[in-house]
C-alpha cells in the first residue's frame, strides 16, 4: 500500500498545472511532470486541458475582466521512464488550440507547443527498507525528497513568427527549471502533505521580426526569473479513489528589454487546484482536475487569470523487479 500512496501522490503531481506567465493566448512552458513510483517502469499519458482566460491583473493589481472570449484547449502526450531507484525522466508534447472571439481578428489557431523534458533525482523514498542488527526494518520518518530539473524547447510558434495572437503556441525562448519536491505521509494510507518549489530561468531572445514583419531595429527580451510554489494535501479515500487539494502560485521578476530591466513589470498570481483520481486497474489512472485563480483585485499582478478544466488518462508499465531498486 505504501507504493500505492506514493503512486497516488505522484499522479497528482503529474497533473498539477502551473500558471504560465504569458499574454493571453500564449502557450508553452508548462512543467507538468510525468512522475513514476518505484513500482512503475514507464508511463504514457494523454492529457487534455481547457484553459479559459477570464481577465488580467494590471500593474496596480487591479483585476480587469475580458470583454471577449479567449481560451485554449491543450491536448498533450507525455511519457516517463524510470532508469533506477533514483533517476527518472520524462517528456511532454503539448498541442495548442487557441480561440479568440474579437471582431475583425482571426479567431482560431493551433499548433505544437513548446516541448518540455524533465527529470528528477530522488534522494529519499518514504518507507524505505533498511537493516539494523540483522533485521529488516521500515523507515517511518524520512520523507520523500527529490531534486527536479526541466528544460523547455521553443518548438512552438512564438509572437516573432506567428501571424496573429491565435497562432501563438510557444514562448520562443529556452527555459530551464530547477526545483525540489518533498512528500511526507501524515497518516499512513490516508493523508499526505507535499511541497513543490522550483526556480525557473528564461534565456534571452532576440527579435528580428514581430508577427512576421521585419523589424528595423532588432531587440532582445528576457523574461524575469520565476519562483513557483505549490503546497498539496492528498487524501486517499480508499484503494481506488483519492482527492487532492493544492494551493500554488508564482513570483516573477521584471523582464528585460535590451538588457535593461523594465520597472514594475514583475508578475505574480495564486491558484487553487482540486483533483480527483480513480484507478480502474493497477496500470490505468483517470484524473480530472479543476484549477482556478481568484478573480479579484489584489490576487495577482501583471498576470492573466483563468480557470482550467483538465483530464489525464495514464497507462503504466509496471516495474516487475522493484526490489532491484531497494
Amino acid at each position: 500500500m505504501r507504493k500505492k500512496i506514493i503512486f497516488v501522490f505522484f499522479i497528482f503531481v503529474l497533473c498539477k498545472p502551473v500558471l504560465v506567465s504569458a499574454q493571453v493566448c500564449c502557450g508553452g512552458g508548462v512543467y507538468d511532470v510525468a512522475v513514476l513510483s518505484l513500482n512503475k517502469r514507464a508511463l504514457f499519458n494523454f492529457g487534455y486541458k481547457f484553459d479559459n482566460f477570464m481577465g488580467v491583473w494590471d500593474y496596480e493589481k487591479d483585476w480587469r475582466e475580458n470583454n471577449n472570449t479567449v481560451y485554449q484547449m491543450i491536448p498533450s502526450l507525455s511519457s516517463a521512464y524510470r532508469f533506477n531507484k533514483q533517476i527518472q525522466a520524462g517528456v511532454l508534447i503539448p498541442f495548442y488550440i487557441n480561440k479568440l472571439e474579437s471582431p475583425g481578428l482571426p479567431s482560431n489557431g493551433a499548433g505544437i507547443g513548446d516541448i518540455v523534458i524533465n527529470g528528477r533525482y530522488e534522494f529519499f523514498h518514504e518507507y524505505g527498507l533498511y537493516k539494523e542488527k540483522g533485521k529488516l526494518k521500515r523507515d517511518e520518518s524520512t520523507p520523500y525528497l527529490a531534486a527536479t530539473l526541466g528544460f523547455t524547447f521553443p518548438s512552438g510558434t512564438s509572437d516573432e513568427s506567428a501571424e496573429s495572437e491565435v497562432d501563438i503556441t510557444g514562448k520562443g525562448y529556452f527555459t530551464s527549471n530547477l526545483g525540489i519536491s518533498v512528500i511526507k505521509t501524515v497518516f499512513k494510507d490516508k493523508l499526505q502533505l507535499g511541497a513543490d518549489l522550483s526556480w525557473q530561468h528564461s534565456f534571452e531572445k532576440t527579435y528580428e521580426k514581430y508577427y512576421g514583419e521585419e523589424l528595423s531595429q532588432p531587440y532582445t527580451r528576457q523574461q524575469g526569473d520565476r519562483f513557483n510554489y505549490a503546497l498539496t494535501v492528498n487524501y486517499l479515500l480508499n484503494y481506488w479513489h483519492s482527492a487532492s487539494f493544492s494551493f500554488g502560485g508564482f513570483l516573477m521578476n521584471n523582464y528585460k528589454l535590451d538588457n535593461s530591466e523594465q520597472e514594475n513589470t514583475n508578475e505574480n498570481a495564486v491558484n487553487f487546484v482540486i483533483s480527483y483520481t480513480y484507478y480502474p486497474s493497477e496500470v490505468i489512472r483517470i484524473s480530472p482536475l479543476f484549477k482556478w485563480n481568484i478573480f479579484s483585485s489584489g490576487m495577482g499582478k501583471n498576470a492573466p487569470g483563468s480557470y482550467l478544466l483538465g483530464l489525464n488518462i495514464v497507462y503504466y508499465i509496471e516495474n516487475l523487479e522493484p526490489d532491484n531498486f531497494r
Binding site: 475580458n66 471577449n68 506567428a162
Partner: protein, 267 residues
C-alpha cells in the same frame, strides 16, 4: 353573411394596419450641440461642437452658423481663428481649420479646432470670427475645459526645426480588440500658425509595457483628409498600452527615437 363581411373587414383592417407600420423617414438628429453665440450689430455667429456643449482640450469638430439680420448664410466660408493669451506673455496659436465651408447636409459651416490648453485664471482663449472676409467679430472670449480622453504630443524635428503636434482623435475609450486609431498631425515653424501635414507616413506599434509584448493585425494610419490619419490598433488584453507612432515625411523620419506614443487604459 354578416360573419363573412366581418372577417373580410377585419382582414382588410389587419393588412392596412401592417402597412402603416412601415418605417417613415425620420429627420436626422444633428450630432452637433450649440456651445456659444457671439454677435455684434446685425451679425451673429453660433458655434457648435460634436463633443457636447463645451469646448474641450484636444481635437474638436466644430460647426458654425452665421446670421446677418437674422438671415442664415448658406454659402461662402467662415474663418474661425482661436488664440490663447497668458497673462504677461505673448499670445500663441493653436491648430485650426483655415476655412470652414458650408455643408449642405449638416446645414452649417464645418471645420475643427484643436485647443492645446485649458482655460484658467491666467490663461484666456479668444477667437476671431469672420464671414467671407466681409464682416468680422474680433477677440471674443471662450472657455476650454479638460478632456480626459484627449492626448497630444509635441516634438521638435532637429533636422527641419519644425515643431510637430500630433493630437489623438480616437479611441477615447479603448476596448480590448481592434480599435479605430485616428489622429491629426500639424507642424509649426517658430511658433507661427500651425499647418496640417498631409504627406506623412505613419507606422504604429502597440506595446503593453507591463507584459512586454505587442500585438498583431494593426493597420498603419493612412491620410484621410486635413491632416487626419486613420488606422487600427489591436489591444489584445485589458491594461495599459502604449501606441508608438513612427512618422516620416518625404522619406525622412521626423519622430525621435524611441518614437512618440499615446497611452491607453484599455478596459
Amino acid at each position: 353573411m354578416k360573419y363573412l363581411t366581418l372577417i373580410l373587414f377585419s382582414g382588410l383592417l389587419f393588412f392596412s394596419c401592417k402597412g402603416e407600420d412601415t418605417v417613415a423617414p425620420v429627420e436626422p438628429v444633428s450630432e452637433y450641440t450649440k456651445v456659444l453665440t457671439v454677435d455684434s450689430a446685425n451679425f451673429k455667429f453660433e458655434l457648435y461642437s460634436t463633443g457636447g456643449s463645451r469646448l474641450l482640450v484636444g481635437y474638436n469638430e466644430l460647426g458654425i452658423k452665421v446670421f446677418e439680420n437674422n438671415v442664415e448664410k448658406t454659402d461662402g466660408f467662415v474663418r474661425y481663428i482661436p488664440s490663447m493669451f497668458h497673462t504677461g506673455e505673448q499670445e500663441h496659436k493653436t491648430p485650426y481649420k483655415e476655412f470652414f465651408y458650408y455643408d449642405q447636409q449638416k446645414k452649417m459651416f464645418t471645420g475643427y479646432a484643436c485647443y492645446i490648453m485649458i482655460s484658467d485664471p491666467t490663461s484666456f482663449w479668444i477667437s476671431d470670427y469672420s464671414y467671407n472676409d466681409v464682416f468680422t467679430l474680433k477677440r471674443k472670449f471662450f472657455d476650454v475645459y479638460p478632456n480626459p480622453g484627449s492626448q497630444m504630443r509635441f516634438w521638435l524635428d532637429q533636422n527641419t526645426n519644425y515643431l510637430y503636434l500630433m493630437i489623438l482623435i480616437n479611441p477615447a475609450d479603448p476596448k480590448t480588440g481592434l480599435n479605430n486609431f485616428k489622429c491629426i498631425l500639424h507642424r509649426s515653424f517658430e511658433n507661427s500658425r500651425y499647418s496640417e501635414v498631409d504627406s506623412a507616413s505613419m507606422f504604429i506599434r502597440p506595446w503593453m509595457p507591463s507584459h512586454g509584448h505587442g500585438s498583431s493585425s494593426n493597420v498603419n494610419p493612412s491620410w484621410i483628409r486635413n491632416g487626419i490619419y486613420e488606422g487600427k490598433a489591436n489591444f489584445t488584453m485589458a491594461g495599459t498600452w502604449y501606441v508608438y507612432d513612427s512618422i516620416s515625411v518625404n522619406n525622412q523620419f521626423i519622430t525621435p527615437n524611441p518614437p512618440v506614443y499615446f497611452v491607453f487604459d484599455v478596459r
